[in-house]
Amino acid sequence: MYERRLRLLVVAYVLILCVIGARAFALQVVEVGDHVGQLETRCRRTLSVLPRRGEILYANGTPMAANVPGFGLEVAFRELDDRVLPEPEQLARSLGEWTAQRTELDAAEVAATTTARDRAVLERRLAARRAAGDTRRNELLSTYPEAYERYVRDGLAVRRACAVCGHTVRSIDPPTRSCRECGTPGRFEVLPPFDVQELADLLDEERATVDASLARALLRRARRPAYRLHALMVRIEPHAAEEIALKPWRFAGLDAVPRAARIRDDLAAQLVGRTRLPTAADMERLTDPAREADGLHIYSEAEVYPALVGAWGLEAQFDDHLRGVPGRSVRVREHDGVEPYRTEIRREVMDGAPLQTSIVPRLQRAAEEIVARAPAHGAGAAIVMDVRTGAILAMASASSDGLNHAHVHVQPGSVFKLITALAILETGLDPEEEVVCNKSGVMRGRGKYVCMHAHGPIALVEAFERSCNGYFAQQAARLGAEPLAASFRSFGLERRFDLGLGDMHLGEAGLARSGPEDWERWDLMMIGIGQGRATSTPLQIVTAYARLAAGGTAVTPWLVEPLRPDPTAVRRDPALVRHAPLLQAAARAVVVSGTGQAQVELGNADAAGKSGTAEVLRRDGVDPPSYGQAKYVNNTWFVGYAPHDAPRFAAVVVFERMKPGAHGATEAGDPVGRLLIEALSER
């Protein structure tokens, strides 16, 4: 009985195999034409849908960096034929000619440059560009032949016309099938999809550039399915995109796709940074599977190529935040479809998130105007900060070295006396105790410090008001290193605040050059007046005065919403809380009757603050001859806050390498007053 069941089982399997055999017979012998016909008309393109890069926004919601519509060009290799792609030898020849032509143009440009210094810079830049270009070209030429050979072997030529009736089809099948229109077998002619020279003319590009782009796209295609579109040109002009879109018969196999370009407001160019096309390092970073662990999208190579990535500034630091996740769609033409194409969304595109900053446009404009007055060979920086929240409302920098000097360590001069003053008070020295200022004090074996005036016997508040170097230098020497170091910490000067701008455009960290254990008596005296080993960034100095203005609250600066510190975790510094009233009175006295009393804008702003003038060595070749034979040039500072009785905003302005004799209050006092008035009227 059960053997019959077993027999039935075997018979059932054999019958199923017979059915499958019959199906195979139907497919391979009876219905073969139908399936091949489907293939001839079925067309499928996979497209990466680029996300819109998130906007970077001012505090009021207007964009600092935004996207504008643009177009890119993509190619479907499946719809090309062999003649479109340059043969390896032709590509080498074409690129060689192009390189020679570029070298000639470069040489002409160098020859036309007038000064020797500019010529040297230009030559260096061109040599670097040429080396990078050579590397890319050699890589292309070494890998291209194999991809080309494979492409030709694949025989992907697809746009064909029947030699008898002229019926045109796009086919992926070898040209041996019958024409679906007239039934003639095997009489097809391959039609060239487009003329490469015509495309180059339309794009206003060199033929070699288009050839190289095609070759690079083919190399990418070798690693991807044939039906995927590959980026050919990342940016093309709208008229070219229109021409290609409107005349598909002239440019078969090409697709002009919308692709946004990035623009930025020049006001905050230094903060926003720039975007650029991805490099090999970006490719490696964005396709790294380890990104999944961080909850980030793992890009495919095809998705990376047309994307924009941040080069520096906020664009680079928040690149993943801004870039978004590309979508994927498939465009299909079916053999029985009513519509010529249908687009299926496979993965919805996720646009990049906006990045909210704390920058106020009007204040930023004012700050930019102020730093524009900085000497061309030097630098200038201006910062406005909200004392209550730590928000940076404006941050501007102008410099000959391209660095953001709001972040660069320089000698702060007398604005540093606030730190010495707190150390004096915290150590328990009597603020009423007078110290004699004799204009200069000689230090054994090392030199001397100089006070501009012989103040005579002078106490803390008056010394701060009149910026007496004699008082602070002598008191610093009495204090020793440790109280000064503790005072640094109270004001947050030991910290390098992360505003999200990255390290690339920051200056070197000056304080790292030495520690308190190395300070000798001479060093202490110079540090006490903000000279010698004392260096700080404008950001650190404005933060220190904001902490004073906030009555000892440890304000932390922030620029972008994702890095905003938790307001509930704000601590207060006990030393600063104890001594803030006296120090605030001293800072107010500076504006009312001290070094800043002549600055009208400071008075109008009802401000308190401190001027600073740091002497730095003059450098031949850097400082202009008009500075004469003076040994030193000046860094001029003013840092202040307003209103003095209920502080809301703090601001700092610094001009580096000003002429000898320039004074902090005179040069930077009124600009700080203006920034504070603008800030007070803004909110």
Binding site: M1, Y2, E3, R5, L6, R7, L9, V10, Y13, V14, I16, L17, V19, I20, G21, R23, A24, F25, L27, Q28, V29, E31, V32, D34, H35, V36, Q38, L39, R42, R44, R153, D154, L156, I172, D173, P174, P225, A226, E292, G295, L296, H297, I298, V325, G327, R328, V330, V332, E334, D336, E344, I345, R346, R347, E348, M350
Partner: protein
Amino acid sequence: MSADAIRPPLAAAPARWYLTLRALDPRVLAPALVLVAIGLISLAADKPVAMLSQARWCVVGLAVMLAAIVVPYRKLLALAYPFYAVSLLCLGALLVPGLGRTANHATRWLQLGPIGFQPSELAKVAVVMVLARYIRFRRDHRTFKGLVVPFLLTLIPLALIVKQPDLGTALMLVPVLFVLLWAAGAQRRHLMTVVVLGVLSLPLVYSVLQPYQQARVRSFVEPAVVLVADLRSGADEASTDAAAAGATNSARAATSRAAAGAPDRHHVTESLAAIAGGGITGQGFREGFQNRTDRVPESWTDFIFSVFAEEWGFLGVLILLLAEGLLLIGLGSVAFEVKEPAGRLLAIGALVILGTQTCVNLAMTVGLAPITGLPLPFLSYGGSSMLTSWLLLGLALNAKAHRPLVFTARDFD
């Protein structure tokens, strides 16, 4: 070597090596080797790198088969329950984060040093062995109540395999259970009742399927709707990306859209195009257009038949089907010859697994069944699949080699 030379003395018990050699039944081995050769040829055309690895696995598989023949199957069946427990442990280990290896969005591989294997392949063998062990000498499976234990023994690994998810392999266990019970004499009306209940519960089962699995089913039952979402890189990708991106609302929406709206025929369309392109004589070795242009997805694993059919045409397909048929008939003959219940059930188990997997894979490739992700035994690339196939053959041949003399009139009586 003459037959006398290897014959042991009459008085002595047959030597193990003698039994092993006697077990190497050409009715089974010859078609299996032909199939392996066809698989290697197809891989050589599609993915030459994989061919060398597959050849190595084939040699290892042959060794495994010989090892499976050497130890008498009754001794092996004595270890059926521990083996079953080990396979359950391995399946359970996949549920522990970090132990399993995930590929194609399913955690199916357990990594042992440099080697990864699929516990679900082990589970298929374990279920056959444990059912054979349980059912032999019993009669209670002929009652409705007696079906409970065999069903439980099958459903536990099935549930764990579904969890991976690997619906195709999980569903393989269902025919194994039914056929073994049926062959062991279970009442037809009992089995039919279970089948009817199963059919009635299909809507419920469908609702708990993964989105891509639902899409596969819909693409099969709605062949008129021809869309081109790529299953593995479509709905799956959307869901993975959604998880990676913290499952924001729009990502979740994308997932559900991909899940709801993508009955897919892309795999099948490309596969049919490849098979049809082969014609009667085929396009020639390494000349298949669909194969050269990488159009058939998973062409070296699940869809290897289309590669072979495109390059060797209908004539090649006939040879392949003939080899498959001969293999199944050979396994059936082995089962016939074994009268002892447990041995016969082992042989039938091997027949059912290899036969069902072959039929489902081929039917899927020619568009007669939904896509299940089952490999074609002996042909598809994959070490676990190759080893399991040879192990099953080994168990069936073992049953034949070590079969005892049975004096009852009918088996299971």
